[in-house]
């Protein structure tokens, strides 16, 4: 009893948290986020089925002999599919957890700084990778697409990297709205943005004005990377990588500012 009292009297002498345990807390948080969403069909089914079913219907089942349609659409539906886990995994869960008090509890608990967001980010990266693998399996197995190993690796890298700007965008939307309104708002971002970036119809089929503003959408840049990964586009990658990183940083800062102000 007395020794405990001494600890309290000198605030500097707090029980130290060994670095191993801090790392363990980050890992535990990321593991929990992955587990809870992998077990939530309400999240996993729409996020994985949206892009794969569309790809199956428009890219794989219609036979396009001698054309590269299945290959082209593998790229655009990969971009479309990778957006989902970021936007919905981050946006919807943040909006609901701000509403339901979980975020408040986490802020009161000694969770290491950022573990909450890093956990969600890892979850979105894992889910995006799952989506890419499903699309690859469809394209390679049934769509007659062939990719050499370097291109396969490039496709697999698109998932965890490409999801990041959409995590940040989803997080920002999640700070604008609380609770169940978030999914609706996110659909209003997701679907038009996919359309305007040429993920459903090739950009060349859209009006000239829409073609010109396409680089304003992060999904456009993601599509360019995906097209390179399936070998349907040549040209520098760096501008698109930088554009995606810039979107990620800007939305992350906007979201962090709102979270600090309004919680």
């Amino acid at each position: 009893m007395d020794t405990v009292a001494v600890v309290a009297a000198s605030p500097a002498a707090t029980p130290a948290m060994p670095p191993r345990r801090v790392l363990g807390a980050y890992l535990a948080e990321a593991r929990s986020e992955c587990l809870r969403y992998l077990r939530a069909p309400g999240f996993m089914l729409p996020v994985t089925l949206f892009s794969t079913v569309f790809y199956l219907m428009f890219g794989v089942l219609p036979n396009h002999p001698g054309s590269d349609a299945a290959r082209y659409m593998l790229a655009s539906y990969t971009a479309f599919g990778v957006m989902g886990p970021g936007l919905f995994g981050f946006g919807v869960s943040l909006a609901i957890e701000r509403d339901g008090g979980l975020l408040t509890l986490k802020r009161a608990l000694p969770m290491p700084p950022g573990a909450y967001l890093i956990g969600k980010m890892v979850m979105a990266m894992v889910t995006a990778t799952v989506v890419v693998i499903l699309l690859l399996a469809l394209g390679l197995g049934f769509g007659g697409v062939s990719l050499d190993p370097p291109h396969m690796l490039a496709m697999l890298a698109i998932g965890p990297f490409g999801v990041l700007p959409f995590c940040a965008l989803g997080m920002f939307v999640g700070t604008l709205i609380k609770g169940q309104g978030a999914p609706v708002l996110l659909q209003l971002v997701y679907l038009p943005m996919a359309f305007l970036s040429g993920l459903w119809l090739p950009l060349s089929m859209l009006p000239k004005f829409l073609q010109q503003i396409a680089p304003a959408w992060p999904s456009y840049h993601l599509d360019q990377l995906a097209l390179s990964a399936v070998g349907m586009r040549s040209g520098p990658l760096l501008p698109h990588v930088l554009a995606l990183l810039a979107f990620a940083v800007v939305f992350l800062l906007l979201a962090a500012r709102r979270l600090r102000r309004y919680g």
Binding site: M1, D2, V4, A5, A8, A9, P11, T14, P15, A16, M17, P18, R21, G24, A25, L27, A28, E29, S32, L35, R36, Y37, R39, A40, I96, E97, G100, G101, L102, T104, L105, R107, A108, L109, P110, M111, P112, P113, G263
Partner: protein, 302 residues
């Protein structure tokens, strides 16, 4: 018993727009004590807890946790928290939630020990979302104390619990206090504060109305309750001198007065057939009502 202070509000004030939630509150939580924070809705209990947890920043004054700014993680590693409403991830199992929360702390209590103390052994494999409200509260309590905290915040911990579960939780809280853990408890159940608290702080309209032991608080209100079976008219009795209130409930008269002896003598004179006479000191509930009613009256007069 050392008088070390583990958490403190000093002249803390907080406004939300035109609404003053806290108006210069001084509050100190001492090591190892159970402090109950009482007050009607809107009195400033949640804001006080929010300030001590670093969830809300004071507009004026200070909030301290173990001498630190409450937002410092070093301070929060020494506390445990059970908030009024927290929707934990429904698909995670209870055991997984417990292990996750334990990972945040430098020296958590053993897994099995926490499970036993919170009485959740039968829930470990179940998803949190499938539990009843009372079971969820038990899990939240386990999460609050799994880090072996020196200070535990319990915000309305027994809401939604049946009597048996509530008694068990009380026993667990007493065990923690016996270990030297300080507890800040807010509750709507005055009997809960009466059963557990060493010190009671009553808040009203963002100010501290009263502070002291349960007995001291009760003494502040000199009311006594009289209950008896009689045919006398309640309204007439209510007009007697020194009678604060008189009502009839289920054939019994209930009278509140500051001078029980005088009123009882007059009652017996007025109705020789009077029976089942009970005279009881006011409980915390009466004291509390009286305190908050006084303040409301003062406010209206001002």
């Amino acid at each position: 018993m050392t008088d070390t202070i583990v958490a403190r509000l000093a002249a803390a004030a907080k406004r939300y727009g035109p609404l003053t939630a806290l108006d210069g509150v001084d509050l100190a939580v001492r090591r190892g004590e159970l402090l109950a924070l009482l007050g009607p809705n809107g009195a400033g209990k949640s804001t006080s807890i929010g300030l001590l947890l670093g969830l809300v920043r004071p507009d004026a004054g200070r909030a301290e946790l173990f001498g630190f700014d409450p937002q410092r993680i070093e301070a929060r590693r020494r506390i445990g928290v059970m908030l009024q409403s927290a929707n934990l991830p429904p698909t995670l199992r209870v055991g997984e939630l417990l292990r996750l929360t334990m990972s945040y702390y430098p020296d958590p209590r053993g897994y099995d020990e926490t499970v036993a103390l919170a009485g959740i052994a039968d829930l470990l494999k179940r998803p949190y979302g499938k539990l009843s409200g009372g079971q969820q509260r038990r899990v939240q309590f386990a999460l609050a104390m799994c880090g072996r905290p020196e200070l535990l915040f319990l915000d309305e911990p027994t809401v939604g619990m049946d009597i048996e579960a509530r008694q068990k939780l009380w026993a667990a809280i007493r065990a923690l206090v016996a270990e030297g853990c300080a507890v800040v408890l807010t509750t709507h159940y005055l009997e809960e504060a009466e059963a557990l608290a060493q010190r009671v702080v009553v808040l009203g309209q963002g100010r501290v109305l009263s502070e002291g032991s349960v007995d001291e608080l009760r003494r502040r209100v000199a009311l006594t309750r009289i209950r008896c079976a009689s045919d006398l008219d309640a309204e007439a009795i209510a007009a007697w001198p020194a009678v604060v209130s008189a009502t009839r409930e289920n054939g019994h008269l209930r009278i509140a007065t500051a001078r029980a002896e005088t009123v009882v003598r007059r009652l017996l004179d007025a109705d020789p057939a009077l029976s089942e006479l009970e005279v009881q000191r006011a409980g915390l509930a009466e004291a509390f009502t009286e305190l908050t009613r006084e303040t409301a009256a003062e406010q209206e007069a001002a």
